[in-house]
């Protein structure tokens, strides 16, 4: 186990050193561009909803759409071949090449063709295959795999490409600038396209009503690939079918914005093959093209390769909504540091890749990188079709756990009272059963803190369970938050306006007691009576490790405990954003609707609640007001996805603070991720962006909302930030 973690850490370190800079610059550029571009849309959310609805409907009636499309393409004069798997598709494509006596096939960029590895197959059959997308061509020359689903050579620098071209082609004058490289590639590829016999494209979308395929491109190589040769082959997954031409509109408006941050790419080819343009036969240079041969052939190869089974799989099904825009890659903090060569499987990369790899290549392919999704959820709002990508990652993690060898797990068996019948592995079970660790740790605090962080024990934890030795482990506190609350002398406010339940999340209860006491003080200062009942952990820790059964049993117990309060009309206030995200989001997956909904609808993040109280007339006088003190605020990833960052900022602003916010997507700690030995360096690399922003802001206070962010910022800056509520709570009233 340990050596496997070491080699994973070494692999990630190598990728970060060699490709991290180029990947980081490019993906962050795309991600910033996405925010700017979608902001220009009149109603971005409505457009996303429309796109999602079209996909949901299309996947629902996919078998019928396949039949309709087949009939339409045949009416149009083309051929449809439905390939069961990669081998089936490759054989058919090779046959077409044989029948057309093709020596050379030129391709425009297609991830589906990467998935079936058609290039290798055709090369073995004696067909010269040329990638004409400049990025793909670079990779073909370098014999490397794409590191990004839209910008495949994102990991290569201009200098690296220049070295490659100069070494392979030995041009008269050394190539250096991007312009020189582009011109050179255009000329080389132009000649290769002129002599091509077959053009192969993918398809972003295909409409069943007219047989029109949409190709979203910028270079113009796809247009040349289609118009020059007589024979066109399009390779597309069956999930690319939409009912009608009009259905393309929301996708065309969203795909470029979501991916590379372009409002629209240079060319949207809307092709109804065989296309009604004459071919351009450069071997017959003097016959006008208009009288030339327009006897075109078109083969649509629709690929199943696991997709119809994904459609039947309730948890993987939404993967088929994916339009391969790359938003989930670009917005992902881990992906920004490593790119698709670490955060990717055999073909696909980024957050949604777990679904694709599990579906088309199998669990082993997904298991290679699935851990890199931390569940931060930033991709969910970035996804133009709203796929719950973290959930797909969680489900696949759970299934991978089921296949894990359980024999080493006796080590943590005593500490792990989980419901897992399968084997998540020592490390996952240790972090997944955080609740018991916290209880035991707190009971024996401070002794347990000294022991856990002492050299020998820390080393044993690293060796056996992969807990990064460089991290200080969380310090458990006594008394716990609940113990403090029960024992305190102060009574509730006289004649309170209302009574709320403050949820004692595990982190607040056992480790960050001050934010709990501050929340109580602030709420009481605003005229609210607070009760803090004994409630179990929300299940975030086991869920993040793919231990779904354990998370579900936690969820059931939380609802059992909090349900009666909600029924009595009390609101539930939550300090830890990742737990609120459980109540509002994940519980929908874990619980029946009637037990999920009441809690989801009546739970609030603490600053969201304070904002509401102030908006309803409560007075800020009871809070710790400032006169222009500056604060640097890092919101929590899931808090931002829930749209709650703005409440913290508004309340700080109302209380007289001058707020600067970070715009990094995630702190890098992401629950237990940054504690794991094999991911420690990656987590710190991700964190370095946040560190730079916080240092540059140079404010009087650094504050954060989440436990992970607090730990991470503490490690980055050498001093732990406070929670927002600690800054705002009335002075002297906290513990």
């Amino acid at each position: 186990m340990s050596s496997k973690r070491d080699s994973k850490a070494a692999h990630i370190r190598h990728i970060m050193q060699t490709e991290g800079e180029a990947v980081g610059t490019n993906t962050r550029g795309f991600n910033d561009g996405r925010y700017e571009s979608v902001a220009k849309l009149e109603d971005y959310e409505a457009l996303k909803d429309e796109a999602r609805a079209i996909k949901a409907d299309a996947i629902e009636r996919l078998p019928d759409l396949i039949d309709e499309l087949t009939q339409t393409v045949e009416e149009n004069g083309g051929t449809v071949y439905i390939a069961e798997d990669a081998a089936d598709a490759n054989e058919y494509i090779a046959e077409v090449c044989t029948e057309t006596e093709a020596d050379r096939l030129v391709k425009s960029k297609s991830m589906t063709s990467e998935e079936i590895e058609v290039n290798d197959h055709l090369e073995r059959e004696g067909v010269d295959v040329v990638e004409t997308d400049l990025g793909e061509w670079v990779l073909q020359l370098a014999d490397e795999a794409p590191s990004h689903i839209v910008a495949p050579a994102i990991h290569k620098s201009r200098e690296g490409i220049a070295d490659l071209f100069n070494a392979q082609f030995n041009p008269d004058a050394e190539l250096e600038t991007a312009e020189e490289l582009t011109t050179f590639a255009r000329e080389q590829l132009g000649e290769l396209i002129q002599g091509a016999d077959v053009g192969m494209t993918g398809a972003n979308f295909i409409t069943a009503d007219s047989g029109t395929m949409a190709l979203v491109t910028s270079e113009g190589n796809a247009r040349k690939t289609v118009v020059v040769p007589e024979t066109q082959i399009a390779v597309a997954g069956v999930e690319k079918i939409v009912p009608s031409v009009e259905d393309l509109q929301p996708f065309i408006e969203l795909i470029g914005r979501s991916g590379t941050g372009q409002d629209i790419t240079s060319y949207i080819s809307l092709l109804t093959p065989p296309v009604g343009s004459p071919t351009v036969d450069f071997d017959d240079p003097d016959t006008p093209v208009a009288v030339g041969d327009d006897d075109r052939e078109f083969h649509l190869v629709l690929i199943d390769n696991g997709r119809m089974a994904m459609r039947e799989d309730e948890d993987l099904r939404e993967t088929l909504y994916c339009i391969r825009c790359s938003a989930c890659s670009n917005t992902c903090a881990n992906f920004q540091s490593v790119g698709g060569h670490a955060f990717g499987g055999e073909t696909y990369s980024g957050g949604i890749a777990t679904g694709w790899e599990a579906g088309v290549h199998g669990m082993d392919a997904a298991a290679e990188f699935n851990d890199l999704c931390t569940g931060c959820s930033r991709c969910v709002e970035a996804c133009p079709v709203g796929i719950d990508i973290p959930w797909i990652n969680t489900v696949v993690r759970d299934r991978i756990n089921a296949g894990t060898d359980a024999k080493l797990e006796f080590l943590v068996d005593g500490l792990t009272p989980d419901s897992e019948t399968s084997g998540p592995g020592v490390q996952k079970r240790l972090f997944g059963n955080f609740e018991l660790l916290a209880k035991v740790g707190s009971t024996f605090a401070p002794l347990s803190n000294w022991v856990a962080n002492a050299g020998p024990v820390s080393r044993v934890l690293e060796g056996a369970a992969g807990v990064a030795h460089d991290r200080d482990l969380p310090e458990f506190q006594r008394p716990t938050f609940r113990e403090w609350f029960e024992d305190r002398d102060r009574g509730p406010p006289v004649d309170p306006d209302r009574t709320v339940v403050l949820y004692p999340d595990l982190y607040t209860n056992y480790m960050m007691v001050e934010r709990g006491t501050a929340a109580v003080a602030a709420l009481e200062a605003l005229g609210v009576e607070v009760v803090v009942p004994s409630v179990p952990g929300a299940g975030r820790a086991p869920l993040s490790q793919g231990m779904i059964d354990t998370a579900r049993s936690k969820a059931e117990r939380v609802v059992e405990t909090l349900g009666p309060y909600v029924e009595d009309g009390h609101d539930v206030v939550v300090i830890e954003p990742s737990d609120l995200a459980m109540f509002r989001g994940d519980y929908e997956r874990l619980l029946p609707q009637d037990s999920y909904e009441p809690l989801a609808e009546n739970s609030y993040e603490i600053l969201e609640y304070v904002y509401g109280l102030l908006a309803n007339g409560a007075d800020t006088d009871g809070l710790n007001l400032a006169d222009g003190e500056t604060v640097a605020y890092h919101s929590h990833c899931q808090q931002r996805t829930m749209g709650l960052e703005e409440y913290s900022i508004a309340v700080l602003d109302a209380c007289g603070y001058d707020v600067t916010t970070s715009d990094v997507e995630c702190c890098g700690m992401a629950g237990s991720f940054g504690y794991k030995e094999q991911y420690y360096e990656l987590a710190m690399d991700v964190g370095s962006n946040l560190e730079a922003q916080l240092r540059e802001a140079n404010c009087d206070h650094v504050i954060a909302s989440g436990t992970s962010c607090t730990d991470q910022i503490g490690d980055l800056l050498g001093e732990e930030p406070s929670h927002v509520i600690e800054l705002l709570a009335p002075n002297g009233e906290t513990q």
Partner: protein, 169 residues
């Protein structure tokens, strides 16, 4: 001329310019001269599908592959334009508009002002009717061809480096 047209034309022009597209306005009678001053010879083209406008002399309208390879400018009609994206729509035809608009460094597109639609929704309603009826193909082209694959954004990848639109008013 309605205000709506003025707005659409203005919006289209602003958006198209933001992608580096050059724009010229011309009355039907001035189109040939406007094209002539926009092209860099040698030029190839495909016949314009409207009765009241003509291509200037010097544009080869029945090009061979050799002409296409040797030319610097390609002149074609645009069937439609989308105001809020600054896009033009190039319909494929049997005269070879697709290669003519694609292979040259400079693409000169001739667009009738009345064919500017406000948005993608209007454009796709048009595409839906067209494609179901004719089973035709078209390109929505926005600005010149471009790539960022060589380490920086470069205009003029496989397709034209410059685009000029002549708007017939």
């Amino acid at each position: 001329m309605s205000n709506k047209h003025v707005d659409l034309h203005g919006q289209f022009a602003t958006q198209a310019r933001s992608y580096g597209v050059g724009l010229t306005e011309a009355s039907p009678g001035e189109v040939a001269a406007a094209i002539a001053s926009a092209v860099e010879p040698p030029a190839v083209g495909t016949p314009l599908p409207w009765d009241d406008v003509e291509l200037p002399d010097g544009v080869e309208t029945d090009p061979t592959p050799a002409d296409i390879e040797g030319a610097t400018t390609g002149v074609t009609a645009a069937s439609l334009a989308i105001a809020d994206y600054g896009s033009i729509v190039l319909t494929m035809d049997d005269a070879g508009s697709e290669p003519v608009s694609l292979f040259e460094d400079l693409h000169v597109a001739v667009l009738r002002e009345a064919d500017i639609v406000p948005d993608m929704q209007a454009a796709f309603e048009w595409f839906g009717e067209q494609f179901r009826e004719t089973r035709g193909s078209a390109i929505v082209a926005t600005g010149p061809s471009a790539t960022a694959d060589m380490g920086a954004l470069v205009q003029g990848a496989h397709g034209p480096e410059h685009v000029e639109v002549i708007v017939v008013r």
